[in-house]
Every structure is written in structure tokens, then in C-alpha cells.
């Protein structure tokens, strides 16, 4: 697909007629900064001064009708295009691999309707989650979605990766948080799901777009669940001597329906790396931070039973201070210089989810694979388990190489070899990479390995909706 060279100024005029001339951007500066996300590959290309994919033009619509017209324009002119929200993914999902047109949705940030009776909010999806939450908080509500990229990512981006936040153990993933979607399809038509989610009036087709990473349509509006701000929110930390105990304690708490809003279990490295270094913990082991929220009486009952389970699993109560301190500073790790991304190191997070009986073996397989196979490069592997369900849990396996080959081909080969080891460890042990960061380009090549049947089905859907593969091609193993 090499269709990106012909977009001439007369065609930009057509776009200007749709969104206004000031919202059709061809500045090199904007193209440059939109072409790099936080994926190691885009940053590495930047360090190597290699060329990386850039759009020809970036347009900023302000409503669904404009998005429809832009999509129709792309369809008529056979121009590849993609929708961009915050652009802060770590897998290249919003990188314009084939150039073309980027539809930046951040002007679509209007809050359309707050329903204080059924507790919903209808929003344009270009709104930054932080701004949506600020609006809700001022009215006494919250969406309870607090991922690491809370400050910077858009609601549409979170829906597109089926994201989760730190309170997901109680409030779920994006697919649990949204009732209704409006989507501009690649044929230029509009899709709107039924006004309620839990129906049996045929399948809930909106589910197609959660985790589709903008390959099947452009999500323009969402009706989201909201909650009252909690009467009480509590946090407490426990020290466990190993991961096994921590996973078992977490499992018991989840399967017994104790509904913690927060459950985070750090492996020994992350306990040192994060909780000792940043929060002043002086103990060794695996720390588990647990939190509850809601009505005070219910929270107190949940705390009592859960703390007992932790004690029965030999968890030592570290009190509230460390846990509250973590909650209050939960985004601090993602700022430089604490975040790895400011350094020219090779790193990746490969969020992985699996049933309880499988998750620990995946962790050890990955750790062994990274640290033994790549010992000559002093590879470091660490993880924490942050999103828990009543059937399993997920963890953030992270590898770090401070030194790696200076030859770009060798470096990129090494990076992909590490991904291979980790992804295969997950597949062979019944897990799934990834849990919520998205596939993008980074894991695109594994889509068939994850499940050939699932991959084949996704190809059928893609072909039906976007036969010419113009929408966000090259992601999720689609439209290559």
C-alpha cells in the first residue's frame, strides 16, 4: 500500500472545507511529535536518527459528522488513515505506518450529557481521561478509571485498547465501563449500539470495537458508567515472603467476592525497585497493597475478612502508611527520571493475563528465559501483579537492558528475540499477552500464534468492514 504520495494541496482544500483550514495541519513539527509514542522501537529509531513513518496531513475534527466526511474522503481517495487519541501507547498502535492521514480526535472533548439518576455520562471520545474525571469529581462522581496514562490518554484510546486502571479489580476494564458506543465505520457509515449493553437483542456489536485499536472503526462517542465518589477508600500493605503466597492470598480474596478496588502484588525486584527506592520500605519480600472503597460499613467488613485471609497466608501487616503513600503518588513512577523511557535503554512491558493455576508458571518461565538467555546483556526482569479477577490475574513482566548491540539490526533482532521468549512462555503456559496495553505493531506478528482461529475470524471481520484496509493498516496483524 503505497498510496500516500499523492495528497496534493487541492485535496487538503477538501479537508479544510470539512474541518476549517486551521485544523488541517501539515507542519513538520506536529508530524514529528505525533510520530513517536513510547514504544521502544519508535524511540530507538529516533535515537538512531532513522526515518520513521509520518503522516502527510493531520486533521482535527470536532464532531462525528466531520469524522464521517473525512473517512469518506479517505475512502474516495484511497488514502490510509488512522484515528489518534493521546498517542501515548507503547506498541506503535497510533503510528501512521503507511503515512496518509491522521484524524486527531482531541478536539472532540465535549461532555454531552450527565445522567445523575442512572449514573452515566455521554462523552465525545477525544476527551483526556483526566479532564473527564475532573468534571465528574466536581459534580460528586468518578469513573474510577485510573491507569498510568490517566493524565494523557483519551477515553477513545482506552476503549480501543480495552484498557484497565489501577482500580480494575473492582471496576473492571473499559468493556465493563461503557454502555454504548458510536463508531464511524470504514465505509463512512455510522454505527451506534443499542442504548443498553446487557441485552439479548442480538449480539452486542459494540464489543467488536473494544481492543480493536482503531482498526475496525473510529469511536466518536461513548456512554460511560459513573459512580458516586466513595464514602470511604482505604489502603493497607502486607509483606509476603514469596510470590506464591501473594498470588494465593489474592486469589482467595477475589474468588470469595471480597471486591477489593485495588490489589497489587510486587515481586521481590519490584518491591526493592519501587517500594524500597521510592517509598522508603526497609523490608525484603513481596509486598501486596490492597484497597477497598464504597460505603464505610461495607468497606470495613471487606477489610476484616480480607486482612484475615492475608494473615492466614502469612502476610505481615505493614499498616496503612506505605499503601496510602503509594496511592497518593501512584503516577510518580511514570515521570522522568523514574520512568525508563527517558533513557536510551532497551525495555518493554508485556502485560500478561492468565487463570490462577497458570499465572505463576508463566512468570517464572519468562523470568528464566530473559535472565538466562540474555545474561550476556545483563538482562533484568521484574514484575508486579496489578489487575485481579475472580478467575485469574494479570502481571506486568518488564525487561530492561541498559546495554545492547550498537548495530541497529542486531539491537532490533535482540529486542524481538526477548519478545519471542516471553510471548512463547505465555502461550505455552495458557496465558495471553496482552492484557490492556494493546497489540499495535509490537505484538502484531504474534496474532496467529495466540490463536489461529481467532486471527482468521478477525481477518474476516476486517475484510467485511474495511475491504481495502485503509483504516490503521499494519496493526493487530491486520491489513499488512
Amino acid at each position: 500500500m503505497k498510496k500516500s504520495g499523492f495528497l496534493e494541496k487541492n485535496q487538503w482544500y477538501e479537508l479544510e472545507k470539512i474541518v476549517g483550514s486551521e485544523y488541517v495541519i501539515t507542519d513538520q513539527s506536529e508530524k514529528d511529535v505525533q510520530s513517536i509514542d513510547v514504544w521502544w522501537m519508535t524511540r530507538y529509531c529516533f535515537f538512531q536518527q532513522n526515518k520513521f513513518p509520518q503522516p502527510l496531513v493531520i486533521v482535527f475534527p470536532e464532531n462525528t459528522q466531520q469524522v464521517k466526511k473525512i473517512v469518506q474522503f479517505c475512502l474516495i481517495n484511497k488514502i490510509p488513515y488512522l484515528a489518534r487519541g493521546g498517542g501515548a501507547g507503547d506498541g506503535g498502535g497510533s503510528i501512521p505506518l503507511y503515512g496518509g492521514l491522521v484524524i486527531d480526535l482531541k478536539r472532540m472533548d465535549k461532555i454531552i450529557e450527565l445522567n445523575e439518576h442512572s449514573l452515566t455520562v455521554r462523552v465525545q471520545t477525544g476527551i483526556l481521561q483526566k479532564h473527564l474525571e475532573e468534571f465528574l469529581n466536581r459534580k460528586g462522581y468518578t469513573m474510577n478509571h485510573f491507569p498510568a496514562s490517566f493524565n494523557t490518554s483519551t477515553l477513545g484510546g482506552f476503549i480501543s485498547t480495552n484498557g484497565t486502571g489501577v482500580l480494575s479489580s473492582k471496576y473492571g476494564k473499559m468493556s465493563d465501563m461503557v454502555h454504548q458506543l458510536e463508531v464511524v465505520l470504514p465505509n463512512g457509515n455510522l454505527f451506534k449500539s443499542l442504548p443498553v449493553r446487557l441485552h439479548s437483542t442480538g449480539p452486542d456489536y459494540s464489543r467488536l470495537f473494544f481492543g480493536a485499536e482503531g482498526t475496525l472503526g473510529i469511536i466518536t462517542e461513548a456512554l460511560c458508567k459513573i459512580y458516586y465518589l466513595p464514602e470511604k477508600r482505604s489502603f493497607r500493605a502486607f509483606l509476603l515472603s514469596n510470590l506464591k503466597q501473594g498470588i494465593e492470598a489474592g486469589r482467595q480474596i477475589m474468588v470469595k467476592g471480597l471486591n477489593p478496588c485495588l490489589l497489587r502484588l510486587y515481586d521481590e525486584y519490584d518491591t526493592r525497585h519501587i517500594l524500597q527506592k521510592q517509598y522508603g520500605l526497609e523490608k525484603e519480600g513481596c509486598v501486596l497493597i490492597i484497597g477497598f472503597d464504597g460505603m464505610k460499613k461495607i468497606v470495613e467488613a471487606q477489610e476484616e475478612v480480607s486482612y484475615l485471609i492475608l494473615e492466614q497466608n502469612e502476610g505481615k501487616d505493614l499498616g496503612e502508611k506505605l499503601a496510602i503513600n503509594w496511592w497518593n503518588n501512584r503516577y510518580r513512577s511514570y515521570y522522568p527520571p523514574l520512568d525508563y523511557i527517558c533513557e536510551p535503554w532497551m525495555t518493554a512491558v508485556m502485560d500478561t493475563v492468565a487463570p490462577y493455576e497458570k499465572i505463576e508458571s508463566i512468570y517464572w518461565e519468562m523470568k528464566k528465559g530473559v535472565e538466562e538467555e540474555f545474561k550476556p546483556w545483563n538482562a533484568i526482569f521484574h514484575a508486579h501483579f496489578s489487575h485481579w479477577y475472580d478467575w485469574g490475574t494479570s502481571f506486568y513482566p518488564t525487561f530492561l537492558l541498559k546495554d545492547f548491540p550498537s548495530n541497529p539490526h542486531e539491537a532490533i533482532r535482540l529486542y524481538n528475540q526477548i519478545l519471542d521468549i516471553c510471548v512463547q512462555a505465555s502461550i505455552q503456559n495458557g496465558g495471553v499477552v496482552n492484557e490492556h496495553h494493546g497489540i499495535g505493531m509490537r505484538f502484531s506478528r504474534f496474532m496467529k500464534d495466540f490463536s489461529e482461529e481467532n486471527y482468521n475470524f478477525s481477518q474476516i471481520i476486517k475484510k467485511a468492514l474495511d475491504p481495502e484496509s485503509l483504516l490503521n493498516p499494519g496493526k493487530l496483524g491486520l491489513g499488512e
Partner: protein
């Protein structure tokens, strides 16, 4: 000078998106190239020789109001506003600054003001040169050029306070616009002129209503070995009024009955100099109640868009930024928006009577002056 001074900031900020949500310019344009990350990434490219100072890149660097909200919002307070200023030094060194920016330099060199000959707010009879007055009222260039009403109001208040005051007949730019625009050497030269004049008069108090001049006198002059003598206080008009209220030289009888009054924190006065309480104290004393707080106030107040004389360099953009802040006032149903910086008033004022028909915008000295006008 230049990019070398901000290598650490570039390294740390170029891939970090965390403060984008706060950047007032981004909120108005939604362009990533207007964000701290965008600036750091572009400078990284320029340092590496991937890109040069094209008109596009230069323009972006002159569209930041240097309000410092990104620095405040950042967990590690990386000084992105300083990064932009150092980049501008580099642009100036390479003679790539936009013509409008060059015009500011030329104007200061020829007329002593960035805005040319001020339509000449004339000194009144009390403004004649005196020897060692208690107060020198340094009005500032943009107040002289655009807001004679603020000067009148301040002078009236000085009269009511019964202090011995004067304005300098030959008041020129303090130098801060040049500093903000990357003309550091020229700024120092301009600063020296103003410094010499102030030292020669040697008042007890240098009073200004311009937070930019205030910051320059207090924080930047000392960096240039131009520390004003310790027996000369440098105060903002809100601090001065607070002191006069406290010592009962100035008494308000709450004649001013305004409702739904909000206060907008100017960036230089608030975030950069930490003066948050004096204006609130003064407003409360005038109207008998605390002003309504806008969402995002004090350290986290969003810029009005005028900073770094954006209202003059790129008025279209500064109006867009101002609108975001005006909407904060609208959210609070404010009928009167008070500020303590003339440049905020400059960018807020055009909205009054149009999109915001029931809102008034005034400087804090105008509010105070209503008491004595029977308002």
C-alpha cells in the same frame, strides 16, 4: 546560554506526556507540538541535527506563554518554561526569530517600550520627579500603552493612602520581554538602564502593578548583578494595598456591592512569585467576601495566554488560550473577573459584551477604586 543549558530537561521531557493535560496552549490548539514534550522532542531533533530552525519550528517556540504550569504540574518540576527560553536564545543567536519578535527588540531600542511610543499616558501633576520619594510607581510598558485606566486607578489609591509617590518621567522597559524572547544580552543592557534610574531616585518602595516587572526586579536582576539596594522594597500593588489596609491607611467600607466576583491568578504573580493571598485579602476587604475560586487556581491556575507578550506577538493564539480561562469563570457563573496583571486584562477584555455579555473584567486596582468613585 542556549540549548546546552537544558540538556537534562530535553532528555527527561522528550518522551514524557504527563503534563500535556495542563498546558494552556495545548488546551487551546490541541497540537502536540505546543506541549512540553513536543518542545523537548523538537529540541532533541535540532541538537542531533535531524531538524533545523525552520519557520515552523521557530514559530512553535514563540507560541509558548512560558507560564510554567507544566513545571508546576510535573512531579519533578522539570523547568520546561526555561527550556523554551533557552531555545529562543539559540534561535536569536542564529538570527532566526520571527519579524514580530525582532520588531519588539527594535522598538525597545528606539522607544524604550516593546509597543512603540505609548500613546503617551501623561504624567499627572503628582508624578513629577522628586528626590527620594517614599514610593516610585513603576507602571510598566504594557500598562502605559494599553491600560491608562489602571494607572489612574493606582494613582488615585496612592493619593488615598497619603503617601509621597512619583512616577518616572523617563520610565522605560525593565527588560523582561527581551529576556523572555531570547535576547538575554539586550535584556541585561535594558535592565541596567532602568536599574540606574531607580537607584538614582532611591525610593523606599518600588511599586508596580505589573507582575512581569516585579519578577524581573526581584528575581532576574540579581542574577545579572543588578540587585536593587536592600533598603528599597519591591512590592506588587496588591501587597502594598494589603499593608495599607492592615495599617488602616486605607479603609474600605464595602460600598462596592458586586456579586459573583472571581479572581484569576496571574502566572507571574502567583505561580512564579508565590503571591496568592494578598490579592484575595484585598478583594475580600473591598467587597466584604472572599472571591469565588476558579477551577484550577493558585499554583495550578491556567495561563490567560498573554504571557511572554503573546498578546502582542500572536494575538490570535493568545485569544484562544484566554477563552479557555474565561470559560473557567463562566463555569463559576462569575459576573466580575478580577485579575492583578494588566496583560491578563488585555486578553480577557475583548470577550466582554460579546460571548460573555454579563461578565466584567477589571484589574484589582480598578475594583478598589470603585469604593472612592461611589461605585
Amino acid at each position: 546560554m542556549g540549548i546546552d543549558h537544558v540538556r537534562e530537561v530535553i532528555k527527561n521531557c522528550r518522551f514524557c506526556f504527563m503534563c500535556r493535560h495542563a498546558c494552556p496552549t495545548f488546551l487551546a490548539t490541541k497540537l502536540d507540538s505546543h506541549t512540553p514534550r513536543g518542545y523537548a522532542l523538537m529540541l532533541s531533533e535540532i541538537s542531533a541535527g535531524i531538524r533545523g530552525w525552520t519557520d515552523d519550528f521557530v514559530k512553535k517556540f514563540y507560541q509558548c506563554s512560558q507560564c510554567g504550569l507544566c513545571r508546576e504540574d510535573c512531579e519533578f518540576h522539570w523547568p520546561e518554561d526555561e527550556l523554551v527560553r533557552h531555545a529562543r536564545e539559540d534561535i536569536v543567536e542564529k538570527n532566526r526569530e520571527p519579524q514580530k519578535v525582532k520588531n519588539v527588540l527594535q522598538s525597545i531600542q528606539v522607544t524604550g517600550s516593546p509597543f512603540g511610543n505609548d500613546s503617551g499616558y501623561k504624567l499627572n501633576s503628582r508624578s513629577e520627579n522628586q528626590h527620594h520619594p517614599e514610593v516610585v510607581y513603576f507602571s510598566g510598558c504594557s500598562t502605559r500603552s494599553y491600560h491608562p485606566e489602571i494607572i489612574s486607578a493606582t494613582e488615585n489609591l496612592l493619593e488615598h493612602c497619603g503617601v509621597n509617590w512619583m512616577r518616572m518621567e523617563n520610565e522605560e522597559c525593565c527588560g523582561i520581554p527581551l529576556y523572555d524572547l531570547g535576547y538575554t544580552q539586550e535584556a541585561k543592557r535594558q535592565a541596567k538602564k532602568t536599574y540606574d534610574k531607580l537607584v538614582a531616585i532611591h525610593p523606599k518602595i518600588i511599586l508596580t502593578g505589573c507582575p512581569h516587572c516585579l519578577r524581573n526586579f526581584r528575581e532576574i536582576y540579581p542574577n545579572w548583578q543588578l540587585s536593587l539596594p536592600k533598603d528599597m522594597q519591591i512590592v506588587h500593588v496588591t501587597q502594598f494595598l494589603q499593608e495599607k489596609i492592615l495599617d488602616r491607611s486605607l479603609i474600605f467600607h464595602h460600598k462596592v456591592s458586586l456579586k459573583l466576583v472571581s479572581y484569576h491568578d496571574p502566572c507571574q504573580l502567583g505561580r512564579k512569585l508565590g503571591i496568592f493571598d494578598a490579592p484575595r485579602f484585598v478583594i475580600r476587604d473591598i467587597i466584604g467576601q472572599a472571591p469565588t475560586e476558579l477551577f484550577h487556581s493558585r499554583e495550578k491556575a491556567e495561563c490567560c495566554g498573554a504571557g511572554s507578550i503573546q498578546f502582542f506577538i500572536d494575538s490570535e493564539l493568545s485569544q484562544k488560550v484566554a477563552k479557555v480561562r474565561m470559560n473557567r469563570a463562566l463555569e463559576e457563573k462569575s459576573q466580575v473577573l478580577i485579575t492583578a496583571c494588566q496583560n491578563c486584562k488585555t486578553v480577557f477584555q475583548p470577550f466582554v459584551g460579546k460571548e460573555y455579555p454579563s461578565m466584567q473584567v477589571m484589574d484589582i486596582v480598578e475594583l478598589a477604586n470603585l469604593e472612592f468613585e461611589g461605585g
